[in-house]
């Protein structure tokens, strides 16, 4: 695709900057504890990247991405818990050899649900397959009936609440409110040491790169442009002969898979999984990471996640009783002053140094620069006026709805 070629050098440059920061600068400058924190933040970035595809590009606002993060994390946690619950380590229990919380709940043998997680292969499959299957079912149930926008957001939020209640209620099988804790080794390798955390940090970066490349591949493919078209003019895409629901289901499943990878890596790095990471609050926080980064920018999502979490940690360390106000102020500042998030700021800075005629390549990560100042409402509102705006801007028309639709037509 010609379009992809013209911008790829800039992709490579920004990707190289990110890698330089994550793989070289941070490991050199930070101690093991802070580096592990960054590793934890990066696992949330997987969710944020999924949201860029799903929400930023596809206009599907999901307030329940914590569900997929949690499912991935729980799958990994179940495997690790079984590994650490050897009969020797749990000799004090009434039934040795099963996870401690099951023993506390009078369960005397390993439930069938847990048996596949004795195998690493099945666990690795489950980490992706379970969330994707779940996302697929939600997607079929919702998108085939043309449930979208606010209704879809509310339903995903309800699903997050339901799953939390389910996990908390079935504590014999899930560990309840406490979650699955005290995870020690992965295939005999002690994941709690500083050395292991550093290795896991680089593993996280490797997976993150993979996910970024997949996301960029999707966003630059025909499917990516279809997604933007679906967001801006769903009916036109439908009338052009595309099955809109399938496109939405696909991207929702991709976002779920990304989140699940993040969740599994989170469990490995933090050493436990609990329902507080599944519920409504973390799910909304994840949307905020994405919004701060600029919801149309894949790399922006990573920077947004890092910035918000870094602010959260350092504010709460310095002002334990006031930090929430500081965090709130940060969000207000971002929404009021930088509605396109960090990526918007970066692009406008970059644009100052370039000539107007190069404008066509000015926003590789932002397929549709939107003039709307209210970042969160765009995908939910009718976008007729925006399409009109885009027609009047030759530079961006190629990325916009009209461009995509034109492509389809041809």
């Amino acid at each position: 695709m010609n379009f992809a070629n013209t911008v790829s050098w800039r992709h490579m440059l920004s990707m190289a900057c990110l890698l330089l920061l994550l793989a070289i600068v941070l490991p050199i400058t930070l101690d093991a504890f802070r580096l592990n924190l960054v590793g934890k933040y990066l696992t949330y970035a997987f969710v944020a990247i999924g949201l860029v595809l799903c929400w930023g590009m596809g206009g599907i606002l999901s307030l329940g991405q914590g569900v997929f993060f949690g499912l991935g994390g729980y799958c990994m946690a179940m495997f690790l818990k079984l590994e650490s619950s050897t009969p020797e380590a749990t000799a004090i229990q009434s039934t040795p050899g099963i996870p401690d919380f099951m023993d506390w709940n009078q369960i005397t043998e390993l439930p069938a649900l847990w048996i596949p997680f004795q195998s690493l292969t099945l666990t690795l499959i489950a980490i992706i397959a379970v969330p994707v299957l779940f996302a697929f079912l939600i997607g079929v149930a919702m998108f085939k009936r043309r449930v979208s926008g606010v209704y879809f957001a509310i339903i995903t939020q309800a699903i997050a609440a339901i799953l939390t209640i389910l996990i908390v209620g079935q504590q014999g099988y899930t560990g309840g409110v406490n979650g699955i804790t005290d995870l020690r080794t992965f295939m005999g390798w002690d994941i709690r040491s500083d050395g292991a955390k550093t290795v896991l940090y680089f593993v996280t970066i490797a997976f993150l790169c993979l996910v970024v490349f997949m996301a960029q591949f999707i966003s630059r493919s025909k499917l990516g442009r279809l997604l933007v078209a679906v967001r801006d003019q769903e009916d036109r895409v439908r009338f052009s002969g595309y099955e809109v629901a399938n496109i939405k289901i696909f991207i929702f499943c991709v976002a779920a898979a990304f989140s699940a990878i993040g969740g599994a890596l989170f469990t490995l790095q933090v050493g436990f999984m609990s329902p507080t990471l599944v519920g409504i609050v973390p799910s909304i926080e994840m949307v905020i990471y994405c919004a701060v980064g600029g919801r149309l920018s894949i790399l922006g999502a990573i920077y947004g996640t890092l910035l918000v979490n870094w602010a959260k940690t350092s504010l709460s360390e310095s002002f334990p009783e006031l930090w929430l106000f500081g965090l709130g102020a940060l969000f207000i500042a971002v929404v009021m002053i930088f509605p396109k998030g960090l990526a918007g700021v970066a692009n406008s800075l970059a644009d100052r140094f370039r000539k107007p005629r190069l404008d066509v390549a000015s926003s590789p990560d932002m397929p549709t620069p939107v003039d709307d100042s209210n970042a969160s409402s765009t995908p939910l509102t009718s976008t007729t006026h925006q399409s009109a705006t885009r027609h009047s801007r030759p530079g961006s028309a190629v990325h916009g709805a009209a461009g995509a639709a034109g492509d389809i037509g041809a």
Partner: protein
């Protein structure tokens, strides 16, 4: 000597000094300042010749803040009093406070920060079982020492935790014995919030009730934050138990007791009688004294306890944090943490975690507001269990206390 720098009036200083945990510790405290940091700290903790850094790790934001604030206040009070007496081994205690934000991963993150970056000599903190479970691997991995204040379900005994609240059997057994003996209770309805502490506690309660030859007529659980208790109140009315055994936690309490009253169950008539192990004076602030008037609570401390230690503690607490404040069981248990740590450090003559751990069993505190306590080999406290009657003013009136200290038994045989 550090003592000379303190600004407390002489009279109060003398009373505080008189509470010193045995003469030998007192002498160690006075000699302490002559010991070099390198001698009392061989593992690189944050100890200088003048100061020692400890951590306070509670939620000051989020849903748990309302419960954990009392613990933070109690720990700060204890630290200030210890500093006024000359500190620990001649060193002033400096605290590093972190916010767990009612979020378990945050607790783990902050615990690690306190141990790895700040190298604190001890951490006073956590409240919910979930937060303790989240930080436990961190404390075991980096060999920290946590003083955990909340009454909890037991089934745990970590070398890196001193449990200053009661474990489940201490709280439950004598309470049930008391209602069975003095009130002639025959049937019980068990009720709780749906997580590990109420479930484990009710499991122990059920076994004990059945051992006594009495009957459990119902057992129900509701999610944390649940506010609709009408259906269970109807069930209670149908089953007509002698005792409602309630372990409802947090905000749900407000709805539960209000709806109980609205449904016409007057607890002062004791038909049925209500016995709880989860409502301290702090919770009554939210519930309202009128709504819980007549209920009984089984725990180890009430603000109204009539002894010299407690009077001084309550006065000092109110002086530091204001007259309107109430003090519940957990707040008092949190207050014990710094004192128990100080006593163990002085017995060990060192801040080293391993030495403090070795010195901890057998540490006694005669100055505890709840009265005499002692650390058991299993890191829990020997303590008395008391029954209080809730009054409309939001305070408990002491009805009964066990004559002996109850032995902590986190893995009770026959109750699992």
């Amino acid at each position: 000597m550090k003592n000379r720098t303190n600004r407390l009036p002489d009279r109060r200083r003398r009373t505080l000094l008189s509470q010193l945990i045995g003469a030998s510790f007192g002498i160690t405290a006075l000699l302490g300042s002559s010991l070099h940091a390198a001698d009392v700290n061989t593992t690189g903790l944050a100890v200088t010749d003048d100061t020692v850094t400890v951590g306070i790790l509670h939620s000051v934001t989020g849903t748990m803040a309302i419960s954990e604030t009392g613990s933070v206040q109690a720990e700060k009070l204890a630290i200030e009093q210890i500093n006024a007496m000359g500190g620990v081994l001649g060193r002033k205690i400096v605290y590093e406070q972190e916010d767990g934000a009612s979020d378990w991963p945050t607790f783990a993150e902050k615990a690690k920060k306190l141990l790895v970056n700040d190298k604190v000599a001890a951490v006073f903190g956590c409240w919910t079982s979930a937060s303790r479970k989240a930080v436990l691997p961190v404390f075991e991995q980096y060999n920290g020492m946590l003083y955990y204040p909340t009454f909890y379900e037991g089934l745990e005994q970590s070398p890196n935790v001193i449990y200053t609240g009661q474990e489940a059997t201490q709280q439950i057994l004598s309470g049930i014995d008391w209602v069975a003996e003095t009130k002639g209770a025959k049937s019980f309805f068990l009720l709780g919030s749906d997580y590990i502490w109420p479930r484990t506690s009710n499991k122990i309660a059920r076994k004990h009730i059945e051992k006594l030859g009495l009957k459990v007529v119902g057992e129900e659980y509701y999610p944390l934050g649940h506010t609709q208790f009408n259906s269970v109140i109807n069930k209670i009315k149908l089953k007509k138990p002698d005792v409602i055994y309630a372990i409802v936690v947090g905000g749900s309490n407000v709805a539960f007791y209000k709806q109980l009253k609205a449904a016409g169950i007057d607890m002062t008539k004791e038909k049925p009688l209500l016995l709880t192990i989860s409502v301290t004076e702090d919770e009554i602030l939210g519930i309202g004294g009128d709504n819980i008037n007549g209920a009984y609570a089984a725990m180890k401390y009430f603000q109204s306890l009539d002894n010299e230690n407690n009077k001084e503690f309550v006065a000092a607490f109110k002086e530091m944090w204001g007259d309107d404040i109430v003090i519940g069981d957990v707040t008092q248990a949190a207050y014990l943490g710094p004192w128990l740590w100080k006593a163990a450090v002085e017995k060990a003559g060192s801040f080293d975690i391993d030495k403090v751990r070795a010195a901890s069993p057998g540490i006694e505190l005669t100055s505890a507001p709840e009265g005499y306590v002692r650390i058991h080999e299993n890191h829990h406290l020997w303590s008395k269990t008391r029954i209080g009657l809730a009054k409309p003013d939001g305070q408990y009136e002491l009805m009964y206390e066990t004559s002996e200290l109850m032995e902590p038994d986190p893995f009770p045989k026959g109750y699992q």
